[in-house]
């Protein structure tokens, strides 16, 4: 995968940037972001799913505790979201930004 930072020649950089900003490359970057969100989201869910039991309990269980459950749930979801965004942003910076994506390319592990 070609990277902008590896190119020293101005002409090559200009050609690279023209390709980088093309609709096809933009679309591929969007797909890569979706892939990264899915990867980090599913990995996060594998560890944090028990907290969503609280949502079920708030719906099905004793309503007097529903607010407390939902408060913890919202806190956990907020933190999960923050961790997800940081993970996606980090991976995007390392694996997607400033690179030309090939058709078979995937966002990586």
């Amino acid at each position: 995968m070609r990277r902008l930072e590896d190119l020293q020649n101005e002409f090559e950089r200009a050609v690279f940037l023209a390709a980088y900003h093309s609709p096809r490359q933009r679309r591929r970057r969007h797909w890569a972001v979706l892939g990264l969100v899915a990867k980090h989201g599913l990995r996060g869910l594998a560890f944090s799913w028990p907290v969503y039991v609280l949502a079920l309990a708030a719906v099905y269980g004793d309503t007097s505790h529903a607010l407390a459950y939902l408060a913890v749930l919202l806190l956990a979801m907020g933190v999960s979201g923050m961790i997800l965004i940081r993970g996606v942003r980090d991976d995007y910076r390392v694996r997607v930004q400033g690179r030309l994506r090939e058709k078979t390319g995937h966002p990586g592990v």
Binding site: P50, V51, V53, G61, D62, A76, R86, G87
Partner: protein, 604 residues
């Protein structure tokens, strides 16, 4: 490949000197034999795939430090920082000193120290992310900051303060032995920059020019038995019998009359007054205070709920109080979630939390995290099966019962294993205050006392408790408190007897935090008496609540003390540099706001 300067002086190159087959610890100096698969591989430094030409590439290298020659000019520090482009608050190499005697017979011994690329690197074993590797090339222990997620455990286990946790970048980094320079036969930048011939570098166990000794001990240097460091000392000038540190650690080094070069760390009792210092109980490890206590309470409460019916306390069976049972389980899940969130956010890079599982083979941190993760997931499954059974109405009853049993027993075992590995995290030889079985006793004591109190609080407060619940649950509370108390008594005794950094921690415990320490002990004793009275006479929600308040308060203070009191076996700092007292002063006076002071907030 690193390019030597056109007229590189001869002293910048690593001297070729004869060496024995094995080092003093019996380990071969040749890291991998001829023909080994690891030979001939590139280190890929900055993407360069070429292989270095150094003929001693596969021999363990190390530093040589002559304390007689060091004038504390800090040129080594400066060269290292420049070579590695380090910010002001990070130093892979630092110069500290110890001093002794009095004018005119004053003596000062300077120490320049970085990573010693040990034979038995405890940082490598402790790192949960596998960020460390001991390379066959030069025997260098290298750390990859991109893999590191900033838990800082390596900074706890290293006796030499080599790994540096960068709170701004959120990861650890350390001395890389300047392997790029070694590839072309040059010494590391620090050794090449030394003005006084104090710091040198080469294949380990070689005697260089102007050098006679190859000692492994120096006043202020931790015992080499912990990690087998690859550094050799020369210190031929006579020093006073007692050397003092100039940083704020209450330690001095007293010569062992049986061994000329061995100085034993001893408590420097300076008659400081007994104080409360409640504000100083706050530390960077506050999230760990909450995480450890909450996890112990949750595991304990689950233990009571799950095992209670098996021991004849039928009140804890789901069928007896379905709503309360489910509420308590969901509550446990909720507070464990908060604890896990806090422990994750404590990392420099929380979004890389999953790397904590990378080193299950060696790291107690990985094992603890795995134990807690399995416990949390199985607790979630158990809660789901018991608290919301309506979701599983489609399952045959026997299968649902089997799922409840499997998840319950699994959670129980995983929880106990997690608490055991949690205690193993603190069995660190470089931190003698923690390296005691009291940690295990305290953690399992808290499982019993906090767990039983939590379960009891829920049942007694809801008014659903039958007669005698307080009496029944007071027994595990009492057992937990006694276990912790006995551990603490032996801990204090062994620290005093053991001397060194452990005794220094205990000295701080009795002075700087003296009133807090005794208040905690009194709280523990009073709690045990209250638990005994409840076990004997029984009691209601109010008395149980009072006991819970006392026990939880005592536990929080005790755990905070546990983190702030530890005195590591790290190298002496200087009057300013690496001096906790100075850091505190700099923060109070605003000096720390100047970036050149190298002090950054203790946060990621």
């Amino acid at each position: 490949m690193f390019e030597p300067r056109p007229q590189e002086p001869a002293y910048a190159f690593i001297p070729d000197a004869p060496h024995p087959e094995t080092n003093r610890y019996g380990k071969p100096i040749e890291t991998v034999p001829e023909g080994h698969a690891l030979r001939g591989a590139s280190l890929n430094i900055n993407g360069d795939s070429s292989v270095g030409t150094n003929p001693n590439r596969y021999k363990q290298h190390g530093f040589y430090f002559s304390a007689d020659n060091c004038i504390a000019c800090h040129a080594c520090e400066a060269a290292c920082s420049e070579k590695n482009n380090l910010p002001a608050h990070i130093a892979f190499r630092s110069v500290g000193y110890v001093e002794g005697g009095s004018f005119p017979a004053y003596a000062r011994m300077n120490i320049s120290m970085a990573c010693n690329h040990c034979d038995d690197p405890v940082c490598l074993k402790g790192c949960p992310t596998l960020a460390y590797t001991k390379f066959a090339e030069y025997g260098a222990v290298l750390q990859d900051p991109d893999i590191c997620f900033g838990c800082g455990y390596c900074t706890w286990v290293c006796p030499y303060n080599a790994p540096q946790l960068d709170p701004v970048a959120g990861h650890v980094s350390k001395c890389n032995m300047c392997v790029d320079r070694l590839e072309v036969g040059l010494k590391p930048a620090c050794a090449a920059a030394c003005l006084a011939g104090a710091l040198d570098f080469g294949v380990i166990e070689t005697t260089h020019e102007h050098r006679e000794q190859l000692e492994t001990r120096l006043p202020g240097f931790p015992t080499p038995e912990i990690t087998h460091p690859n550094i050799r000392f020369q210190q031929a000038k006579s020093l006073p019998r007692e050397m003092r540190r100039t940083d704020s650690m209450p330690l001095r080094y007293v010569r062992d009359e049986r061994h000329a070069n061995v100085y034993t760390p001893t408590v420097a009792e300076d008659g400081r007054p007994r104080q409360w210092n409640l504000k100083k109980l706050r530390s960077r490890e506050d999230p760990l205070v909450i995480f450890t206590l909450v996890s112990q309470a949750v595991v304990g409460a689950f233990l009571v709920l799950f095992l209670g019916p098996l021991f004849g306390v039928t009140m804890f069976a789901h069928a007896a109080h379905p709503l309360l049972h489910a509420t308590l389980l969901l509550g446990l899940l909720g507070i464990e979630t908060v604890a896990l969130v806090l422990s994750t956010l404590h990392l420099g890079r929380p979004h890389r939390f999953y790397r904590a599982f990378n080193n299950l083979r060696n790291s107690p941190v990985s094992r603890e995290v795995a134990g807690i993760a399995v416990f949390y997931n199985l607790l979630g499954a158990y809660t789901l099966f018991t608290a919301v059974p309506g979701l599983f109405a489609w399952l045959p009853r026997s299968l649902l019962e089997l799922a409840v049993q499997v998840s319950g027993w699994g959670a129980l075992l995983a929880g106990l294993a997690a608490i055991y590995f949690m205690s193993r995290i603190y069995r660190i030889p470089a931190r003698p205050f923690w390296n005691h079985w009291q940690v295990l006793a305290s953690f399992f004591g808290n499982v019993l006392s906090l767990g039983a109190l939590t379960a009891g609080l829920a049942y007694l407060w809801a008014g659903d408790a039958g007669a005698g619940l307080a009496q029944t649950l007071a027994l595990p509370v009492l057992a937990g408190l006694l276990l912790e108390g006995v551990g603490l008594a032996y801990h204090a005794r062994d620290l005093t007897r053991g001397g060194g950094e452990g005794a220094a921690s205990h000295y701080l415990q009795r002075t700087d935090f003296g009133y807090t320490y005794w208040a905690r002990n009194a709280g523990l004793a009073l709690s045990a008496l209250m638990a005994l009275a409840l076990a004997w006479l029984g009691g209601g929600a109010l008395s149980w609540g009072l006991l819970a308040l006392l026990v939880f308060g005592t536990a929080i203070v005790g755990r905070a003390l546990f983190y702030v009191l530890v005195v590591p076996t790290t190298m002496p700092g200087a009057f300013f540099w690496r001096n906790r007292g100075f850091e505190r002063h700099a923060r109070e006076t605003g000096l720390a706001d100047l970036p050149q002071m190298g002090i950054v907030p203790d946060a990621h």
